[in-house]
């Protein structure tokens, strides 16, 4: 009888120990879950963006500035999807809808010399300059449409800049690139949807890397 009672007590204490471990396990599990949910690896954002909110309607890229608010921030790609609001997957939605300019700058490091093709889809106008040379532009308003252009770049660092404006209504901006190994002139009609296969500006490839602008150069001519 005593032996039976002793056995019972041992089983009881073993069960207590197990329930004890259940609690420790729970505490550790919660800790792991919190770590998984709260630790985020930083995304490398190599595109510097300057947003200039205007007080008056913007007619085109040449409209004189009447800036009421400036915001500067960085994003990883030039991809602001078409829509009613200024959106980027890095920061989500923002309150900016109408009448603002954007100046997007990055250091484009070309690993090969040769011809590079660019695709700019915008609503409204834009101007693309590389090393202070205008590559292509659409100075006036338009719905989301694509402009294709190309230029020859030597191996090395280049100052890449897009100047963009949003008037009213829908907005959007998307910039892509590719190294043209064929060396053929780019023709939109002969290359349907070709630009969709091109890399977004900011996303590295075998031929191009992107680096944030040095602070000293970033604020020149702003």
């Amino acid at each position: 009888m005593d032996l039976e009672n002793n056995n019972k007590k041992i089983t009881e204490s073993q069960r207590e120990d197990k329930s004890d471990w259940f609690f420790y396990f729970l505490v550790i599990l919660i800790a792991f879950y919190i770590i998984i949910k709260t630790v985020h690896w930083p995304i490398e954002k190599s595109i510097d963006v300057l947003l200039l909110q205007q007080s008056k309607p913007i007619e085109n890229l040449q409209t004189a500035h009447d800036t009421i608010f400036i915001a500067d921030f960085a994003v990883d790609t030039i991809h602001f999807p078409e829509g009613e609001y200024f959106y980027h997957e890095n920061f989500g939605y923002s309150e900016f809808k109408n009448d603002f300019f954007l100046k997007l700058q990055t250091q484009m490091e070309t690993l090969k010399s040769g011809k590079y093709n660019f695709s700019i889809r915008s609503d409204d106008g834009f101007k693309l300059t590389i090393d202070n040379t205008v590559i292509c532009a659409h100075p006036n308003g338009r719905p989301m449409e694509e402009t294709l252009c190309s230029t020859t770049l030597n191996k090395g660092l280049h100052h890449f800049e897009i100047y963009y404006y949003q008037g009213f209504g829908y907005l959007g901006l998307e910039a892509r690139y590719e190294f043209d190994s064929s060396q053929n002139p780019m023709n939109k009609s002969t290359l349907p949807n070709h630009s969709l296969n091109m890399q977004l500006i900011g996303r590295e490839s075998e031929t191009v890397k992107f680096h944030p602008m040095p602070i000293a150069k970033l604020y020149v001519n702003q």
Partner: protein
């Protein structure tokens, strides 16, 4: 004063200080209307101006909101006359301060923290554990955000806790008499006079009565049941009627008869006899009828609404107020006041409820032996209150919101605590240090999550990126401001 009593007082003071930090500090911020404040501030202003109105909730909570405004008078220099002509304020004057209207809800939330600690202490007689587990209330983000606004729930929860503290205190005594049931009725009445869903506390009466009566009811016991039940009911009705009496006495002017008061009520108002006790039930009848009519008008669906069955999982968070800010010149920065719970606490509650229900089923259906009768009794009681509350919510036939879950959430906290003590009771006696260390670690996890979600609780600037990182679960429906 014995050592344990002085320790209890000292610990209570510590809890109060922490509650002042998490619930009270800067309580008037943001100076923006949040959720149902549009209704409650309009009502409070009518009390101050002596304007008659009717309301879907009993008056006590709103009377306290008005009392805070009357005591501090932070908006004396502002024209708030527009509040008197509507039940729903759309705008507030520039420089309107919330110091007055949010004073009592925030204060009651702090008092409730101490009461919560006492409940845990009464459940376990373990001072250190009760102190540790008070973090379930002290750092509950949804409770905090809701309690820091001019709304009714923090006042209601404070009185609910008061009732439970008294219930647990009397549960240890075998000589409960008429006056004790009357006092319990008074405390229950205070909660009911704030919101009618406090009637869930009615379960406490049989809970107290039957605890010391295990045998079949004799005729004498039945007579006692009726006597004590009457005493309890009188306590409730006394407070309930008293709060309405103050409500009627204060509302003497009719601006617009939008509440469709009866001719008899209008005549009483005209004669300025609202304080006359003879007319009390005439006015009460109109007010009760208004509640019924109002509830019928509440829509079945509303975007922030959610099903009670999904509340334990946190569906769905509610955006009380939000606006874009230009913080450090960054785009996509928003200040939110979001009803978003602390996920660690909500998980623990879920575990506590699940374990309790499993234990009850195992004991009732499969004859699982019960080691601690009192603990099992309390687990059954709080489980019943938890389930009964949700069952009532299911059957209301109107849209309900996540903040309606705050009361059962707190019952769930008690269940988790009871389960913790029951499961780890023996280990606690054998190797308490290990349990204390693990509990301390759990408390740190709770505090970390409180801090992580605190920008949504205290209206702090949050980048959209950081906001998205806080969407741990899709079914929370945390929606970014556009």
């Amino acid at each position: 004063m014995s050592i344990s009593k002085s320790s209890l007082v000292f610990a209570s003071f510590g809890i109060l200080l922490i509650a002042i930090y998490s619930y009270f500090f800067n309580y008037h911020y943001p100076a923006e209307l949040a959720w149902d404040e549009n209704y409650h501030i309009a009502s409070a202003q009518k009390y101050l101006a002596g304007v008659m109105f009717m309301e879907p909730h009993p008056p006590l909570g709103k009377l306290f909101i008005a009392l805070g405004e009357w005591l501090l008078q932070p908006n004396q220099h502002l024209d708030t006359n527009t509040f008197l002509h509507t039940d729903y304020i759309k705008t507030i004057p520039d420089d309107y301060s919330f110091r007055g209207v949010r004073l009592f809800p925030s204060l009651f939330a702090c008092i409730a923290a101490v009461l919560f600690f006492w409940i845990l202490y009464l459940l376990s007689q373990q001072l250190i554990l009760a102190f540790f587990f008070s973090s379930l209330y002290l750092f509950e983000n949804a409770m905090i955000v809701h309690s820091r606004t001019a709304m009714l729930e923090s006042t209601q929860i404070c009185f609910i806790f008061l009732s439970i503290v008294y219930f647990l205190y009397r549960l240890n005594k075998a000589d409960n008499r008429l006056k004790h049931y009357f006092i319990l009725g008074i405390f229950t009445g205070l909660a009911v006079a704030v919101k009618l869903n406090s009637l869930i506390l009615l379960i406490l009466f049989p809970g107290l009565f039957f605890y010391h009566r295990r045998k079949r009811l004799s005729l004498i016991q039945l007579k006692k049941l009726l006597n004590y039940g009457s005493s309890y009911t009188i306590g409730i009705l006394l407070i309930f009627f008293l709060s309405y009496y103050i409500h009627f006495s204060l509302g003497q002017k009719v601006l617009e008869n939008q509440y469709q008061a009866s001719a008899a009520y209008l005549e009483i108002l005209e004669k300025h006899e609202t304080s006359n006790i003879r007319h009390f039930f005439t006015m009460l009848k109109d007010n009760i009828y208004y509640i019924k009519k109002y509830e019928q008008g509440v829509p079945l669906n509303h975007k922030p609404g959610s099903s009670p069955g999904t509340w334990p999982f946190g569906n769905k968070s509610i955006n009380y107020h939000s606006q874009h800010v230009h913080h450090n010149n960054k785009v996509g920065t928003v200040q939110y006041l979001y009803l978003q719970g602390n996920p660690v606490i909500w998980l623990l509650v879920l575990i506590g409820v699940a374990l309790s229900l499993a234990q009850i089923v195992a004991a009732v259906c499969f004859g699982l032996s019960i080691k601690d009768r009192k603990s099992f009794y309390l687990i059954s009681l709080f489980s019943l209150m938890y389930l009964a509350y949700l069952a009532v919510m299911f059957n209301l036939g109107r849209v309900m919101y996540l903040y309606h879950y705050l009361i059962p959430l707190l019952f769930g906290c008690f269940l988790f605590y009871l389960q913790f003590n029951q499961i780890l009771g023996t280990t606690l006696n054998q190797k308490p240090h290990l349990i204390y260390i693990a509990t301390g670690f759990l408390v740190l996890e709770i505090i970390f999550c409180y801090w992580y979600f605190s920008p949504l609780t205290y209206y702090q600037p949050l980048s959209n990126e950081a906001f998205m990182q806080r969407q741990w679960m899709d079914f929370w429906h945390l929606e970014m401001l556009r």
